[in-house]
């Protein structure tokens, strides 16, 4: 009997990046995993109204091997790459165990790293005997044997081994929310923290939905406006490209005609973590009103992880059907 070669196995020396990316889409309990030769794709969804996915490129791993499943006979088409569902929260918990002791883990960017690491050091009571100081790092090993098998995670770290086998489930029908990339009504790129701030401000009125309004821009109409109605009043955050600042919030804007759509506010809240971790976001509306938020997350320069690598987290949100929000805003902006 030939040794069972796992269909998929990968090794990562730090799960920090993976944890960060997966956290961005962790608003749902279960995630759909698709393995391919290029990397892993995780996606989550909430009903059919919001969907998020992140692609973990194989460059994020120290080693990555994937053996495509072989067709039953040479006449058949190669079977689909494996996809299955796992419990995302369990996966995050598991990875969390590993990265807690990972001293290079730090959520601050830039030159703060060393200080944060030093502080973690001091406060955690670890000193010269840590992995990092001794030059020994842990190792995290993922493997998957094929349909029905579990997704196994082995973590080795200075004598402590953690093993976790996550049950894989058959996935329900997989249908992405359609987004018509070729027929956009609005496209803008802005810095993610402004979007985060806007959503946080709107959250303070406890709204049920948020309306996105975009226009080519004029004296009275902002280029992009996010507004919400709550019990105590309304709030609106307006962005315009007509500013004297050198770094406008809207770095680029494509908007041929006025358009607006509303989305359930819970969907925006689900994306807040992604907004907080990302550097930039590309906000697009297609002709049907589906909102696509693509967040660019810069992964920190690590020793063995892809230096200067970036990853993308995508959100797709289906608009609310009734256009009350749009009318409300249209009325308000013309009355000024």
């Amino acid at each position: 009997m030939a040794a069972i070669v796992p269909m998929f196995s990968a090794v990562a020396s730090s799960t920090r990046h993976i944890l960060l990316l997966l956290r961005c889409i962790s608003f749902a309990k279960k995630a759909l995993v698709r393995i391919s030769a290029e990397g892993l794709r995780f996606s989550t969804d909430e009903g059919s109204s919001i969907e998020a996915f992140v692609f973990l490129d194989k460059a994020l791993f120290t080693s990555y091997t994937y053996h495509a499943p072989e067709p039953a006979s040479s006449q058949d088409d190669p079977p689909e790459p494996p996809f299955f569902e796992i419990d995302l929260q369990s996966l995050l918990e598991t990875l969390n165990i590993f990265s807690l002791s990972d001293l290079t883990s730090s959520t601050r960017s830039g030159g703060y790293d060393d200080f944060a690491a030093h502080r973690l050091n001091r406060h955690a009571g670890m000193n010269a005997f840590t992995n990092h100081a001794m030059g020994v790092t842990g190792v995290c090993n993922f493997s998957y044997n094929g349909e029905g098998g579990a997704l196994s995670i082995h973590m080795f770290e200075s004598g402590v081994t953690t093993t976790c086998d996550l049950t894989t489930y058959e996935a329900d029908t997989v249908e992405d929310i359609p987004f018509n990339r070729d027929s956009l009504s609005v496209k803008t790129i802005m810095r993610a923290k402004f979007l985060l701030e806007a959503v946080t401000e709107l959250n303070s009125v406890n709204p049920a939905s948020m309306t996105v309004f975009a226009s080519p821009g004029s004296a009275s109409k902002p280029n992009l406006s996010l507004s919400a109605i709550g019990a105590l009043g309304t709030a609106a955050i307006d962005f315009t490209t007509a500013t004297s600042s050198e770094t406008p919030v809207l770095e680029s804007l494509y908007c041929p005609t006025e358009t607006s759509a509303s989305y359930p506010f819970a969907a925006l809240k689900a994306a807040q973590r992604a907004m907080a971790s990302a550097t930039k976001v590309s906000l697009r509306l297609d002709d049907e009103g589906v909102l696509s938020l693509q967040f660019l997350i810069e992964l920190e320069v690590g020793s063995s992880d892809g230096s200067g690598a970036v990853a993308f987290v995508d959100f797709r949100i289906v608009p609310l059907v009734d256009d009350e929000g749009a009318r409300e805003h249209g009325g308000e902006s013309t009355s000024e």
Binding site: K193, F194, E197, A198, E201, S204, V205, P222, L232, G233, T234, A235, A236, I237, D238, F239, T240, T241, A242, T243, S245, T247, P248, V249, L250, E332, S335
Partner: protein
């Protein structure tokens, strides 16, 4: 055209947030009154025992201030409304750490009231203009109500002190969290602030007796100090902490004006075009203060300023007017003292075994003048702590919360019209005649 519109600088915006945080400790809603020369934001607590007001000067606090009095409105020279404090706070929040140079720091804040009959919605509109082309607009609903102000007669408040708010702010950290009352006392050249709560006993079980903390500050540390010796004035600790915390943000010195226990007390301070006033109800032993014929004052004022006003006789109040604070049972801060029958008729102060809970130091022979008040006549009154001698039952107003001009009985104080500028102008000429005659009678008797 808006009835009211004004613009704020980033600093002013963060000051508005700080004052909202302070007002939140008094009540759930804030009332806004706009006049030509100033904007006043006030709050009144539920039990009507504390009133806080911030008057923002039109010329110095704002970048622009424009108020168009509409003659058709009732009370044409002002505009009043009421909002939930939380709603306003969430609008102004997060402005205070602009010092870090955040990218989304606001450059200006424009506020206007949209109150036209032809528009379907009346709103308070707050627009924050931020850098890099971002604008935040909030439209809040408000309620048009008449604002009720507390009146304070500063000419009658002859005693008081003034001290740097920073010093006070450092000391209030020591007051225990669970304490409810604060006792102010002047003694031996020191001002003693004691935070305490009445001990609640259920038979043998002590239900509540949190830590009592006493802080003594030398009168020389006060910029100005004038208070009757051994007179206890008691106010709420929470109110005091809220006031001092806010006073410190304005970095000036804080003044207190008061006369006697159970008369209102006022704290004021101002800076940066903001004038802050807090009028609080006080409790304490009035008889103790009034029974001494020649009250001794501890003061660092020059002697020419010693007033010759004698303490007024115990005032009349109906309990419905000023509901008692949470603890119904004290006239002195020490419940234990009132329960000691051996102490009641004693003329001299010397005690063989000093009560360990006593705030009074055991005195020597020369302290006989400062005997504790004679309890003989007052059995049964201590449980309530008010003056139950309702000598003038017809008098149904508490002088602090006065209405002006209307003869409505107290329960209808809801819709009072505020008088013109409160404490600056002395006695309001709108006292009821029965009040005036009653009081002048007493004053004549003394002088």
């Amino acid at each position: 055209m808006a009835v009211l519109s004004f613009s704020l600088s980033p600093d002013a915006t963060s000051r508005i947030y700080e004052l909202l945080v302070c007002l939140a400790k008094f009540g759930e809603s804030v009332s806004i009154e706009a006049r030509n020369e100033k904007l006043t934001i006030t709050a009144l607590n539920l039990s009507r025992t504390a009133y806080a007001s911030f008057a923002l000067d039109a010329k110095t606090f704002f970048i622009d201030y424009d108020f168009t009095a509409s003659s058709s409105a009732k009370g044409g020279d002002r505009f009043t409304c009421q909002l939930l404090n939380k709603a306003l706070q969430s609008v102004f929040k997060g402005r205070s750490n602009d010092a870090r140079g955040r990218e989304t720091a606001i450059e200006r804040c424009d506020v206007s009231i949209q109150d036209q009959p032809d528009k379907t919605e009346c709103r308070l509109i707050v627009k924050m203009l931020c850098k890099h082309g971002m604008t935040k607009t909030y439209r809040l609903t408000y309620e048009s109500v008449e604002v009720m102000h507390a009146l304070f007669d500063r000419t009658a408040a002859s005693q008081g002190w003034r001290i740097s708010s920073r010093v006070l702010r450092e000391y209030i950290e020591f007051f225990g969290n669970k304490t409810e009352q604060l006792d102010l006392l002047a003694q031996d050249g020191k001002a003693i602030f004691t935070s305490f709560t009445e001990k609640i006993q259920d038979g043998k079980e002590v239900l509540k007796q949190p830590l009592e903390t006493a802080i003594a500050i030398h009168t020389e540390d006060f910029e100005d100090f004038h208070m009757q010796d051994q007179m206890h004035i008691v106010i709420s600790v929470k109110d005091f902490k809220a006031i001092v915390t806010h006073a410190e943000t304005l970095r000036g010195s804080m003044s207190a004006y008061f006369s006697f226990p159970t008369r209102p007390l006022q704290f004021t301070y101002q800076n940066f075009g903001m004038h802050c006033e807090f009028t609080l109800m006080t409790t304490g032993d009035l008889r103790g203060a009034s029974s001494t014929p020649n009250p001794k004052f501890i003061s660092n004022r020059s002697s020419s300023r010693q007033p010759s006003v004698a303490p007024p006789p115990p005032l009349n109040r109906t309990a419905s007017e000023m509901p008692p604070p949470a603890r119904p049972s004290f006239s002195k801060p020490l419940s234990s003292q009132s329960q000691r029958p051996s102490f009641k008729a004693q003329p001299s102060v010397t005690e063989s075994d000093p009560d360990p809970e006593s705030l009074f130091m055991p005195g020597g022979e020369e302290d006989q003048t400062w005997d504790p008040p004679n309890y003989n006549n007052d059995d049964g009154e201590e449980m309530l702590g008010w003056d139950a001698n309702n000598e003038h039952p017809s008098e149904s107003f508490h002088p602090t919360f006065r209405d002006s001009g209307t003869a409505a009985p107290p329960p209808q104080q809801q819709q009072e019209r505020p008088a013109a500028d409160e404490s600056q102008e002395g006695l309001e000429p709108t006292q009821r005649l029965s009040q005036v005659s009653a009081q002048t009678f007493h004053f004549d008797a003394q002088s």
